[in-house]
Symmetry: C2
Subunit: 471 residues, 2 copies
């Protein structure tokens, strides 16, 4: 395999960088930059993962510009790193081998809305909030909600999900088709706009979750959903995290079509109370939301209330008033910043795992014990209807042992989830930080298949190299 010897596995030499940068500046003017500040902003900034800036940042405005940039990079064996809003956690946007970051935030047009087909076509830089604002008068909405106001392209990359996934699925369930610039700089359509198809390999799902390692997404056809006639929601305290998890399991098993069911542990409740000016009881809390008809959402809320009581929880205080619900959910969405505010100046070690729901209570309780024994401050929040939860160990950057302590904790968390038939990440993705867990999760044959796919589609290894799998 001669081409392997030409693959990008180290930073391009300074002469190549200068040459590429000059060509890009010639073509894109001020939309191509080598400024230190801009390069650093385009590498990992949100978590403990070391910032590894690209050599050049290009602000692309069309699929053709992306394709031309990729072709240029391919011809010089220079890496290409796609960038949306930079809100990922696992080092996805880092450039360990340098290269050109393609910032897609200016490709933010909503190209078409087809209310009659319940779909729309958007550029990758559109954020989920902008899309939903645009859809407001159509009676439709896009449900995937990972917390951050991420870009749709980035959400494709990490197979994002979030609070609504228990009812509406994840990105894999809500994308109909993609336009992708391939590692050779060709423009590929992965599918048609029909709701379903059996016409060949599922390239759409292969790109979703591939974190920019197989191409740059430049257009996304999304499924939309009707805004529910009525919404009810509320908050319910529980005497223990185990009781809260058991109530979640019973709710899912009873077939209540809950739209959101979120766990916030007592550490996170303290953080949220302080940050969002709430006065929730400092106990584990479940945040819930129900979508349906007026009668339906009332019935669902009442049924959940009964389940909560069975497990010693409650009172379940709920409302169909939009304003009160919005305030609660804002608090949930601010959870990350609220947690970070517990220890100003400390670093967050955001991580997530997902287990079959029957193991959820056990997994969360063991994790709480582990946190206590490790002396960590580590709030837990979770999309627990899917068996998915997040832990955010906070690390004092001036304490030498703290980083290793948190890292070891994450390793045990993953090990625990895998032992329960779970996954090392339910929605954050692999990036750089979780690569080391993939062999334990998938086994050698599956990992070999992933590597073979990466080599086949990106033989020069220029597409976001050093993420998901090493090849």
């Amino acid at each position: 395999m001669d081409s392997l010897s030409e693959r990008a596995t180290s930073r391009p030499d300074p002469a190549t960088v200068s040459h590429i940068a000059a060509i890009l500046k010639e073509r894109f003017g001020e939309r191509a930059t080598t400024s230190d500040a801009v390069r650093e902003q385009h590498a990992n900034t949100l978590t403990w993962v070391e910032n590894q800036p690209p050599d050049v940042v290009v602000f692309a405005e069309t699929t053709e510009e992306v394709a031309d940039t990729v072709k240029l990079c391919a011809s010089h064996r220079v890496p290409v790193i796609p960038f949306g809003t930079g809100t990922s956690f696992e080092g996805h946007t880092n450039a360990p081998f340098g290269g050109v970051c393609v910032d897609l935030s200016r490709m933010n047009a909503i190209l078409a809305v087809h209310p009659e087909d319940l779909d729309c076509v958007v550029q990758p830089g559109v954020t989920r909030k902008v899309l939903n604002e645009h859809l407001r008068d159509t009676g439709l909405f896009f449900p995937i909600d990972p917390g951050a106001d991420a870009s749709i392209g980035g959400m494709v990359g990490t197979r994002a999900s979030g609070t609504n996934a228990v009812r509406y699925g994840t990105m894999k369930d809500n994308v109909l088709a993609l336009t992708v610039v391939t590692p050779a700089g060709e423009v590929m359509r992965t599918s048609r706009r029909a709701r379903k198809s059996s016409a060949g390999y599922d390239l759409t799902r292969l790109i979703i979750g591939s974190e920019g390692t197989l191409g740059v997404v430049t257009e996304v056809t999304l499924k939309l959903h009707g805004v529910p006639e009525a919404i009810s929601g509320g908050v319910c305290p529980f005497p223990s995290i185990g009781a809260a998890c058991e109530a979640v399991i019973a709710t899912i098993q009873s077939g209540i079509p809950v739209a959101r069911i979120e766990l916030i542990d007592e550490v996170q409740v303290r953080a949220v109370n302080a940050y969002s000016k709430l006065s929730l009881r400092e106990e584990p809390q479940l945040f819930l939301e129900f979508h349906g008809s007026e009668a339906g959402v009332t019935e669902q809320a009442a049924r959940f209330g009964e389940i909560a009581t069975e497990f010693g929880g409650g009172p379940f205080e709920w409302t169909t008033q939009a304003e009160e619900r919005t305030r609660l959910w804002q608090a949930r969405h601010d959870a990350y910043w609220a947690a970070m505010a517990l220890k100003p100046g400390w670093k967050g070690f955001s991580t997530d795992v997902c287990v079959p729901i029957s193991r959820l209570a056990e997994c969360v309780e063991e994790t709480k014990r582990d946190i206590a024994e490790s002396g960590l401050i580590a709030p837990i929040v979770g999309h627990v209807g899917d068996g998915n939860f997040h832990v955010l160990p906070l690390v004092d950057p001036n304490d030498d042992g703290a980083f290793a302590n948190a890292m070891a904790f994450v390793g045990r968390l993953v090990e625990r989830a895998l032992a329960m038939e779970g996954t090392c990440t339910g929605e954050h993705g692999v990036g750089q930080a979780k690569m080391k867990y993939l062999e334990a999760e998938h086994g050698a044959p599956a990992l070999d298949a992933m590597r073979a796919i990466k080599r086949a589609l990106d033989p020069l290894n220029i597409m976001n190299p050093g993420k998901i799998v090493d090849v």
Copy 2:
């Protein structure tokens, strides 16, 4: 690429066949056979596609037996063709380059049911009816219903869907994980049992719909759903096929969570009346089913009735009585055999396409005109809530021009669907017969990507060669 010269692109020579057959008979006894009758039964039998039998048929009973058979075939560059129930339509089980058919029907164990996680683990030879029979006392069911009592493994292969897909999705939405024997004979797990994951490339979805060309599925973890508290269903005539389709579009757009919405045109109604002893009005009919609470299914049926009236249809006669619904749905499920009975001795040319639902009425009406102008007898049935419909041109085997006439009709049908942003197959798959349409549907870059994946995962081209893409 030296290995390409060793790839399976012609039938193995007789000496190799004898050698392989002898080894397999030694290992499997009567479970390996070269009998003409058995070989022919394991190639395409249901449609016009020419029967191309394998050289040997092996009835495997364990993953290990499949793996050993694949390893043996790989070492002699002999094709492997997985076989479930043989109910596919596009020549999927044919052996154009000979080889060993691995019949998985004896791998029919239900390995685990996890009611608390709403999932189960089955071997590929379990059929959907057997699975639902097994689940009867759990309050759970597996919704995917392609008509035939297909095997779960085969349904994975073709990315099957059917009548319930409008509410419950297709196989791609209802499989959590697979065990796959790779083309090298290794045993690969594609995923864990967690409800969601962002841990690397989506191998599960890549295998679903790959029609046995990337490996042999030997274990499937399926999502299950709660049996609805109440079901209502019924039949509604319409004055024209256009009016029926418009009613479908309005129903989907209005957000009624219909579980099944099936179109049967007047030709098929005549066939069904004769075959299933019904007396439906010989007009286009919609068959519907609603799942939910007692109050919910009554409300949904009433709302649909109003929509039908708006489009000149009705009366919508519906019931919550199980017996009457079962009789109706049996008639729908017998549609294929009822159509074939219109012309005993003739061949069926079963085909399907799928378009965005806003184009459905137009596509079906143009197709009806085309059928009339072509002088074909070709009933239409469809899972129209997804924009998916089937046409079954019947061909007199003694009429030399009839075959070409039907073939040309299918070509125009696909062209029409593609022009409307649709797909050449919504659920039957590509097999041999639809390969020629893939370039027009996907374009060269996507087809190149599919070929690259096939070459990367099956470098010897032994897994069901001559299907989906030529490499």
